[in-house]
């Protein structure tokens, strides 16, 4: 073993308490950054996967051009017709990255229990396609129960799901019947009967007394149309989103289809805002924690240098160059940061495992149901914190060590008491 590593290790052991405090400070810094980072990664991934899979929004949504800007006021102008839908499905079949392309229709109207009525908003989809998308969910979200009651079925168009607030509002229970009323695309008033199969919690609390899930056929029946409002596309991997979009746009351009494609990120401003907010918070946490760690190292190294002033003078007198003195203390700092990072890794793994085993739940903002809480182990964060701590600890030692090596004379050091 190098003499310098030996001296560094033995000095660390000699000042056990001080070294231990510094190592623990580094370990806590490492663990804090990685646990918080793992939590934010869980948040991002959960929000993303919940949006894409659990709420069956898919990776891409295809609309008629102009639908998003003007479609709310006059949706019938921007409906995708049968032939267009078939052409789009053919294009999607041509890309193996695309697992599913399923039509969707948003409807609004009045829902009644026979006595009272209230407004509703509905996403009408093909139930089996919705189940296909939800089945792709993974991790703890896959265990999340999204509704109470029975699944909606392709063969039972009248089956609907109510948000729990809507069911309470209309005093309806699973198994009850009711009806929906809305103007058709031609402007005529229409009504259909419904059977309440399930209740669910709305992803947004404000809409929990208005949302309905229904079969696409029922919605088309209500609107008296065979058209759809949009097409939800599911990919084999989320990372393929942009490439798949480029492919679709290219094909639409080639075939003359006037369509636009939005990614899941573009369709989920809540995800983007939450992600941006947590990114900023993470940076603050990272900086604060690492400043504390650096100050701890600077303090420890400074005290060590002060106590070993005469030793520094002796080493210089024996012929050690100034840079060698700096290296001596940098090695000591590096060893402590490696020890601290490894201890921090153990702390992180303990917390991760404890959460995995206990499976705690929590109710996030704007969500009305408890969801699993997880902390992810993110290799990038682990490696990044390890590397950052090593570098910062080394740099933290340089300034006080340089002062000792370059600014003081050997005679002064030897005479230090």
């Amino acid at each position: 073993m190098s003499a310098w590593v030996k001296i560094a290790i033995r000095n660390i052991i000699k000042n056990k308490r001080r070294s231990l405090y510094t190592i623990i400070a580094i370990a806590l810094g490492f663990a804090a950054v990685n646990i918080f980072g793992g939590y934010t990664e869980y948040m991002f991934t959960s929000l993303k996967n919940a949006f894409i899979y659990n709420y069956a929004n898919g990776h891409l949504n295809i609309f008629k051009k102009g639908y998003l800007e003007e479609g709310k006021l006059d949706p019938t102008r921007f409906l995708i017709k049968d032939k267009e839908l078939e052409a789009i499905k053919e294009i999607c079949k041509g890309d193996p990255r695309i697992l599913l392309a399923t039509p969707k229709l948003e409807v609004t109207g009045l829902v009644s229990n026979g006595k009272v009525s209230t407004i509703f908003f509905a996403n009408a989809r093909v139930p089996s396609d919705t189940e296909f998308i939800r089945a792709k969910s993974s991790g703890m979200l896959a265990k999340l129960k999204l509704f109470d009651g029975k699944k909606l079925e392709d063969e039972v168009p009248s089956a609907v799901g109510f948000s729990s607030g809507l069911a309470r509002k209309l005093a309806m229970r699973i198994g009850d019947t009711g009806n929906l009323m809305a103007p058709t695309v031609e402007g005529m008033i229409n009504a259909v009967d419904i059977d309440l199969y399930q209740t669910f919690e709305s992803p947004m609390a404000e809409l929990n007394d208005k949302l309905i899930d229904m079969n696409l056929k029922l919605a088309q029946n209500l609107y008296d149309t065979t058209s759809v409002g949009s097409i939800t596309v599911l990919l084999s991997e989320t990372d393929l989103t942009n490439k798949a979009r480029a492919y679709l746009l290219g094909e639409f351009n080639r075939t003359g289809l006037e369509m636009e494609v939005k990614t899941w990120e573009e369709m989920s401003p809540f995800y983007v805002k939450v992600r941006d907010m947590f990114d900023v918070i993470f940076i603050f946490v990272f900086v604060i924690v690492f400043v504390i760690v650096v100050m701890s190292v600077v303090n420890t190294v400074s005290m060590s240098i002060l106590e070993r002033t005469r030793e520094i003078g002796t080493l210089r007198a024996l012929g050690l160059k100034r840079a060698g003195v700096v290296n001596l203390f940098v090695i000591e700092s590096l060893l402590m940061s490696v020890a601290g990072s490894l201890l921090g890794l153990v702390m992180t793994l303990i917390v991760w495992y404890a959460i995995k085993v206990t499976e705690p739940t929590w109710v996030p903002p704007q969500i009305t149901r408890a969801v699993p809480l997880e902390v992810f182990l993110v290799p990038g964060y682990l490696a990044g914190s390890f590397f950052s701590l090593i570098v910062l600890s080394a740099l933290a030692a340089v300034a006080p060590a340089r002062r000792a090596a370059y600014e003081k004379s050997i005679v002064d050091d030897l005479g230090y008491v």
């Binding site: 073993m1 001296i7 033995r10 000699k14 005469r310 003078g313 210089r316 024996l318 012929g319 005679v411």
Partner: protein
Amino acid sequence: MKGIDFTETSPIITMRQVWKYYDLGANRIPALRGVDLMIDRGEFVAVWGPSGSGKSTLCNLMGLIDDASDGYIELVGREVRQLSDDQMSEFRNKTIGIVFQHFNLIPVLSALENIMLPLQIQGISAKEAEKKATAWMREVGLGDYTEQRPDKLSGGQRQRVAIARAMVTDPSLVIADEPTANLDSENARKIIDLMREINMLKGTTFIFSTHDQRLLGRVRRHVQLLDGMVVEDKRL
């Protein structure tokens, strides 16, 4: 160091009109005043004088751990003012051995590891360094104490380790600043005898400072300092 241009008969140390000042507040205190001194190879020299006479300052300048304010100093054929700090470090490591009043052993290293240190600073392998250091441990009579840390050794034993550390690089010159000041008279005598024995066997030039006149009987030349000046330079 390679390329040193000096002959066996050249003085190992040449000092001409060397002055050293210390600034204490507004005052400038001369520690050495115009010292002229030449030390030949193989000499065993004591620099003696009362406290404050400039002995330690003279030793520091000869050991290249301090800079003269004025004057000419040549060590082993090199004018020291021409050396950069790194060159001085290398020169000290390879050419000069230093023995300190307070021993100055590294507390976390064993006796053997302390002796190995100057060799490892040179970049010599641990195996080679250990071999040479072990030989010197035996030479100074501490062959059974290789693994002991300094705090487990007596004052006399520590100083023997320090002498072995100073000698392990086969230096041309050993500077010892008051090497016996923290030892009882018997150990002080033994240390001086050890240094003299090495001087006679290896031909290494030894210069040590002391305020104890009783040790002067063991040297062949003594230089007396008073108020920063050489007042007597006697060869016996």
